[in-house]
């Protein structure tokens, strides 16, 4: 109970190296009976005994209409433990953690935190009990500053009413220093790159007293460096007594940081395993219920004519700053060119410019015969550009439309889906049924609204649509973000097939593994321009990482 009880100091301790530390940490918990007493309420960490059961879930069930999102789930998390939840898209992971955070009321079962099993009413209640959560989708108010977001809901005030933003800023600085997550308290969230937004989310959760931290796919939007940074923070938190529930689709991360893993399938816990007793293949098999091929095997490319030529392109971002700055690249038929780079280096603007959705300042872009610099999305599509957009919810699908309509979103006025301006619903339905089959889109039928699909299935709808019309160039931006391994495998296979059928593929991804395993050629971008181009055979992971970081 005294100050002298030591907690690892952030500056002093090197980040635990992945893998081995987590193993030893688990061993700690498993073997050490000697309780580590923690200072109460100090720096936001709870009092308690490492190793005791902190979160105990029993018989938890929740259904939405006829969908059993969670069935009779029983699991527990001990203090200082990192537990990963794994499962395909729609397996019920988010539903599960949302119940712990009071966002969803369970149909049956109990959630007890620190032995208190009264139902959690709402997030306010959850927060009060020491639960913090980073949500799958950002829960930040875009037009507010970092500091404002951080204190929202527990603001300090002067004279009881006047908002004390100075103390908020101070708190942001302190927290960000303590956890080594740099953010500017006065920056508006809207202006921040996604990686930084995620940092804000994490700090926000930590700004309250947190005994149990839930992270729902926090790494989906992070670069490898940022991911490592986060995993380090997680390890550190766990060491000092915070329990963490961690959801991710990336097995590498699970193996690196988690102590234990629960695997969910169709709303049920189908397995529980200690990370030291399993490996990636084992986890993937548990998740999907069959063997998953984690590596892509593809024939060497046979590049043909150039399909896309970009020369000295300049494009501005939303704030009017140069985002794409002298970008040149050529994509040939029958090859996959991967654009690797830390997010925010002009990739989004590049993709939008190519798709005709953003004005070009200067430069040349050609797709076959079409001059893309002045083309609109309609023209680019009809010139043979398939575009899997980065933000599928925003651009890729119309949530209130049926899957069938979404599958013809940019072909609806073409034969056979329309004849002289009149839509042909039979053709639309047939197309949808064919693609649903072919792309394994899991739904009740082709007239289900696309908005009600799980993330992976939404992505399949988009991919199906963009590949179905046999594009000359398939441009895929972050095509597997937030998608489960089974679907990733599937989408990757389809991309390679498209290449083999002669399409050029421009793959934009922040996922270095994805770039490395799919691409035939790699262009590394930094600051809106290509800083290096190489064949995949010549690529070296660390070298690319160095280039991405702007070290060239």
């Amino acid at each position: 109970m005294s100050e002298s009880t030591s907690r690892p100091e952030s500056e002093g301790t090197p980040h635990p190296t992945r893998g081995d530390t987590s193993q030893s940490h688990l061993a700690d918990i498993a073997t050490t009976d000697a309780a580590l007493e923690l200072p109460p309420e100090q720096s936001g960490f709870g009092e308690g005994v490492i190793g005791e059961v902190l979160l105990d879930i029993e018989g938890l069930s929740k259904s939405f209409g006829s969908v059993h999102a969670n069935r009779d789930i029983t699991l527990n998390v001990r203090r200082g433990e990192i537990v990963a939840l794994l499962g395909e898209n729609g397996a019920g992971k988010s539903t599960l953690v949302n119940q712990i955070f009071g966002l969803i009321t369970p149909d049956r079962g109990t959630v007890s935190v620190k032995g208190d099993s009264t139902p959690i009413k709402d997030p306010r209640d959850a927060i009060r009990r020491g639960v913090g959560m980073v949500h799958q989708h950002f829960q930040l108010v875009p037009v507010m500053t970092v500091a404002e977001n951080m204190v929202l809901g527990h603001e300090s005030t002067r004279a009881g009413v006047v908002l004390d933003l100075d103390s908020a800023r101070r708190m942001v600085r302190e927290l960000s220093e303590k956890h080594g997550l740099a953010v500017d308290p006065d920056a508006e969230v809207d202006d921040l790159p996604v990686g930084t937004q995620q940092r804000v989310e994490i700090l926000k959760a930590l700004s309250r007293r947190v005994d149990l931290l839930i992270l729902d796919e926090p790494t989906a939007v992070l670069t490898p460096q940022e991911t490592d940074e986060l995993l380090g923070v997680m390890r550190e938190l766990a060491n000092s007594g915070t329990s963490i529930v961690f959801i991710t689709h990336k097995l590498r991360e699970v193996l690196a940081v988690a102590d234990r893993v629960y695997v969910l399938r169709q709303g049920e816990v189908v397995g529980e395993v200690a990370t030291k007793e399993t490996d990636a293949t084992g986890l993937a098999t548990m998740m999907v219920g069959r063997e998953v091929v984690l590596s892509i095997d593809k024939e060497p490319a046979t590049p043909g004519e150039p399909v896309l030529e970009i020369e000295d392109l300049h494009v501005r971002d939303d704030r009017g700053l140069a985002a794409v700055d002298g970008f040149s690249l050529t994509v040939n038929a029958g090859e996959i060119v991967g654009v690797a780079g830390v997010e925010g280096n002009g990739q989004r603007e590049l993709v939008e410019a190519l798709a005709g959705m953003r004005k070009v300042v200067s430069g040349r872009m050609r797709l076959g015969d079409l001059d893309l610099t002045t083309a609109n999305p309609y023209q680019t599509h009809h010139a043979g550009l398939g575009h899997v957009p980065e933000d599928r919810e925003k651009h890729g699908i119309v949530g209130s439309y049926s899957i069938a309509d979404n599958l013809v979103l940019n072909e609806f006025d073409q034969a056979p889906y329309a004849k002289s301006g009149v839509r042909q619903f039979d053709a639309v339905r047939e197309n949808a049924e064919r693609l649903r089959e072919e792309f394994d889109i899991r739904s009740s039928g082709v007239f289900q609204t696309a908005g009600s699909l799980s993330g992976g299935n939404k992505q399949k709808v988009v991919v199906a649509r963009e590949m179905a019309f046999k594009p000359k160039l398939l441009m895929a931006a972050q095509p597997t973000r937030g998608v489960d391994v089974g679907s990733i495998e599937f989408i990757h296979r389809r991309i390679v097939e498209a290449r083999d059928e002669g399409a050029g593929v421009l793959l934009v991804s922040a996922e270095l593994d994805e770039i490395l395993s799919l691409s035939d050629r790699i262009a590394v971008v930094h600051g809106g321009t290509v800083v290096a181009e190489m064949r995949v055979e010549d690529a070296d992971r660390t070298e690319i990482g160095r280039l991405m970081a702007g070290d060239h």
């Binding site: 709402d122 997030p123 306010r124 037009v143 977001n149 929202l152 527990h154 603001e155």
Partner: protein, 335 residues
């Protein structure tokens, strides 16, 4: 001091515009001292209910709730204020009844649009029709008010040339409250805990929810409380600006207030200035008619305020960004 200068640099454009307007106003006063004060006075008089009503809109929409029922809220309050005062023989009772009615009308919107998640536009339209129907249906003629709402002059402030004369001298209490309300709502919205939460709820309710704020409750409270300002605006119409209640006497002011709210970019003080601008163009239009000498038919000069508004918006900043979640009921994940 430092705070002041950062504040000034952050608000450079509005400050420059305000300064320019002030200079122009004093210049006009210098040239036409015979009509300038009265025109500004008329402009402000015209703007008073619009300011109050626009604040209702601002509070509602900043919390994420569209309120196109302001017209109806004002009408009901005007009705209740007038008749309760007439029957009870007490002005203050009437005023309170009017404000209370505004609250009830706000509560109606809160319950239907927020709690029941009825389409917000429909809820507002329903409120407007109910108000028109009820107040005409139960109108009794031949009543009159037992007194007047007192005019007051603010010491010191009323000494300021022109501005003091227009805003602080011999104006009714409600006019002063309108100024105060605009300032207070501005301060509250941008500098208080309530304001931060309100804006969060109107921008991105799920972020507020996950931060432990009860979205529905806050929305309901805000929409209901804002009703009191609509009530005050209604009371102003039937008990202060005029001393009578007539069918549909709000005459579209609730809708104009919405336009002013948007022109004011959902900011209280900017809406306040827009209401003044609107009032001024109105005063100019009627002054043109009244002084004669122009061959423009009065029907056409009467359209001046509206034309001016459109032109200003088309030329200048048309694009303003509304609160992100306005119009959408907040549906929790499992409902």
């Amino acid at each position: 001091m430092e705070r002041l200068s950062t504040w000034a640099s952050k608000n450079r454009t509005p400050l420059v515009i305000a300064a320019a307007v002030l200079v122009a106003a004093y210049a006009f006063n210098l040239v036409r001292g015979d009509i300038a004060p009265s025109m500004f006075g008329a402009a402000w008089g015209y703007a008073i209910p619009l300011v109050l009503a626009a604040l209702v809109g601002v509070i509602g929409e900043r919390s994420g709730v569209v309120n196109i029922g302001i017209e109806g809220q004002m009408l009901l309050a005007a009705f209740a204020g007038f008749f309760v005062a007439a029957v009870s023989g007490s002005m203050i009772v009437g005023v309170l009844a009017g404000i209370g009615t505004g609250l009830v009308a706000g509560g109606f919107l809160a319950v239907t649009a927020v709690r029941w998640r009825m389409d917000q536009i429909i809820a507002g339209v329903v409120l407007n029709i109910i108000a028109t129907g009820l107040t005409s249906f139960y109108l009794v003629s031949g009543q009159s008010l037992p007194g007047v709402i007192p005019n007051v002059s603010v010491p010191l402030l009323s000494q300021i040339p022109l501005l003091g004369e227009v805003f602080f001298s011999g104006r009714s209490v409600i006019a002063l409250i309108a100024i105060l309300a605009a300032v207070l709502v501005h301060l509250a919205l941008f500098h208080s805990r309530w304001g931060l939460r309100t804006r969060a709820v109107g921008e991105y309710p799920s972020a507020a929810d996950t931060a432990g704020i009860k979205v529905e409750r806050l929305r309901m409270v805000n929409v209901t409380l804002a009703g009191s300002l609509a009530g005050l605006a209604g009371v102003y119409l039937s008990m202060d600006a005029s001393s009578t209640f007539e069918r549909e006497m709000t005459a579209g002011r609730g809708f104009l207030a919405l336009a002013i709210m948007i022109m004011g970019a959902w900011r209280p003080l900017r809406a306040f200035s827009m209401a003044l601008f609107f009032g001024f163009v109105n005063a100019t239009a009627s002054q043109l008619q009244q002084t004669g000498g122009f061959s423009i038919p009065p029907q056409l000069t009467a359209t001046l305020p509206y034309v001016a508004t459109l032109v200003v918006l088309a030329v200048a900043a048309g694009r303003v960004r509304p609160p992100g979640a306005v119009g959408q009921p907040y549906v929790k994940k499992d409902q």
